[in-house]
């Protein structure tokens, strides 16, 4: 298997049919993600970053072009490409434990015993520090905890790729920072391949190995790919004054606000 081209997207175009005619959301998308790489997709609202993530997830099919994951065409959604949704999407009638178990059961029930499934679920809860909340329902825990359960559910399936759609977008700044640190530690430990949609510049620079910056929609495409060569493990406090960090941050801001600014006026 080609480790440098774990996910391979070539010539992808996505057009939606709307009552007002067809709407081209994405065009000419070419992108490769290496195994174990952390890639951030960043851009203004409506630039099709979530559309691209849904394509990788297999939730939607491209109008043109191909998407490969581990040299196989992405034909539909599956647990090997786990998704952490923006709004956590936990099932409110199941406890945190049951929400995670649902995914674990689907992936491992065929090969493992009940006790092993339980151990996996417990381990996932422990990984995000939510063992005490195992028997609580999503309605009884905070937004940050829900998002952690969502991450635990995705990680517990041991996916080849972790897809995250603005996973911390709905959280307050302090909770977001803590979860980013947790995610850094978890990814360090599990060596997951991650594709994350974000609109937060600091989040993108802090977490990723590669920032994919997208132009404004409609007909959005990849404007620039910025490799982030910051050593790991990363510490947000130390990085705050790091010359390279500031440089990367400025590059992204420059792209977003100088070259791709004024999205409303253009539309």
């Amino acid at each position: 298997m080609n480790e440098a081209k774990f996910i391979e997207i070539s010539g992808v175009e996505q057009t939606f049919k709307t009552p007002k005619g067809s709407f081209q959301a994405l065009r000419d998308i070419d992108l490769t993600v290496a195994k174990g790489e952390f890639v951030a997709l960043i851009g203004h609202s409506g630039c099709g970053k979530s559309t691209l993530l849904n394509l990788i997830a297999g939730l939607t099919k491209p109008t043109h072009g191909t998407l490969l994951c581990a040299n196989r065409e992405i034909a539909g959604p599956g647990p090997e490409r786990a998704v952490v949704f923006q709004n956590h999407s936990l099932l409110p009638w199941l406890t945190c434990y049951e929400n995670i178990y649902l995914g674990v059961e689907r992936v491992f029930a065929a090969t493992e015993s009940k006790a092993q499934l339980k151990a996996r679920t417990d381990a996932a809860l422990a990984l995000v520090g939510l063992t005490p909340a195992a028997q609580k329902r999503p309605g009884e825990i905070s937004g940050g905890m829900k998002q952690r359960v969502g991450i635990a559910r995705a990680l517990a399936m041991e996916p080849k790729v972790l897809l995250m759609d603005e996973p911390f977008g709905a959280l307050d700044a302090l909770t977001r920072a803590r979860l980013q640190d947790e995610l850094l530690a978890i990814v360090q430990k599990t060596r997951s391949t991650v594709v994350m949609v974000t609109h937060d510049v600091d989040e993108a620079v802090l977490l990723s190995d590669k920032i994919v910056m997208m132009t404004n929609g409609p007909s959005a495409t990849i404007g620039e790919v910025l490799p982030v060569n910051l050593p790991r493990p990363r510490n947000r406090v130390e990085l705050a004054e790091d010359r390279d960090y500031v440089h990367y941050r400025k590059a992204v801001i420059d792209f977003l606000y100088t070259r791709q600014g004024h999205v409303e006026k253009a539309a």
């Binding site: 939730l59 998704v83 949704f85 956590h88 999407s89 099932l91």
Partner: protein
Amino acid sequence: MVSAVFHSPLEANVPLSSPATVSVVAPAKAAAVAVPAPVQTVPRKPLDLRAFWMRVLPPLAGFGLLLLVWELIAMNSTTGFPSPLVTAKQALAVFADPFYSKGPNDQGVGWNVLSSLQRVALGFGLAALVGIPAGFAIGRFEFLARMFNPLISLLRPVSPLAWLPIGLLVFKGANPAAIWTIFICSIWPMVINTAVGVQRVPSDYMNVAKVLNLSEWKILTKILFPAVLPYMLTGVRLAVGTAWLVIVAAEMLTGGVGIGFWVWDEWNNLNVANIIIAIFVIGVVGLALEFALIKIATAFTFEEVKS
């Protein structure tokens, strides 16, 4: 002040129904009992005095007004309209022996209510058996939705009583015809609400199902059914409410033992006091059904994902 009490429709039902259930004891006796009752509970919660009176006083005033209007009508009536006091005395007699049985046309109020409830339960139960699965199918498959929506739109506005002759013709009996009428009137809310519930399952939940690659059975039991349950229970509540409205009218036409027939029978006997008692009984039973179903619905409603 008042608006603070009515935060949600569910909450609003509680303060409305609880004082009303208190009056169940003997609505006709309310005039005598009304005032002294709350005084005993006041010293326990001196801090909540204002809120307490706000909860107790307006409903009492409402019932007081009802009794006053009733008394005025009775005083000025030339046709023997019974006063609240006369009705109360009659109610005591009626409720003293609710389960007597002197032949098919003369049974206690308890038997009448139970017979009506039995018909409602049967008709409604059959409607649930057909309507809920039908609602799931219509909600899940667009073809079926487009196929059945015109039929439902056409048939739903028809008064269920219009179906009674068809029932009499097909089932050749008054009792099955009444049950058939209940079936017809309670099936629509259940079909429609279940279908709408299935259509409104948040796409996030279905995406979770897709990403986890869940089996159809798991999707049904772990996602669709729990997500649709609140809608379904709303349908059930509407259906039971309508069924209880319709059974009275249906029984007036079909006869037999039942609260509707009892009303009609007492009209033929010109026993107006019993008709008023029946009205209260119908109201109280309807309220109890509604209250019980709201409680069940609340227990099965979970926080939704906001998208």
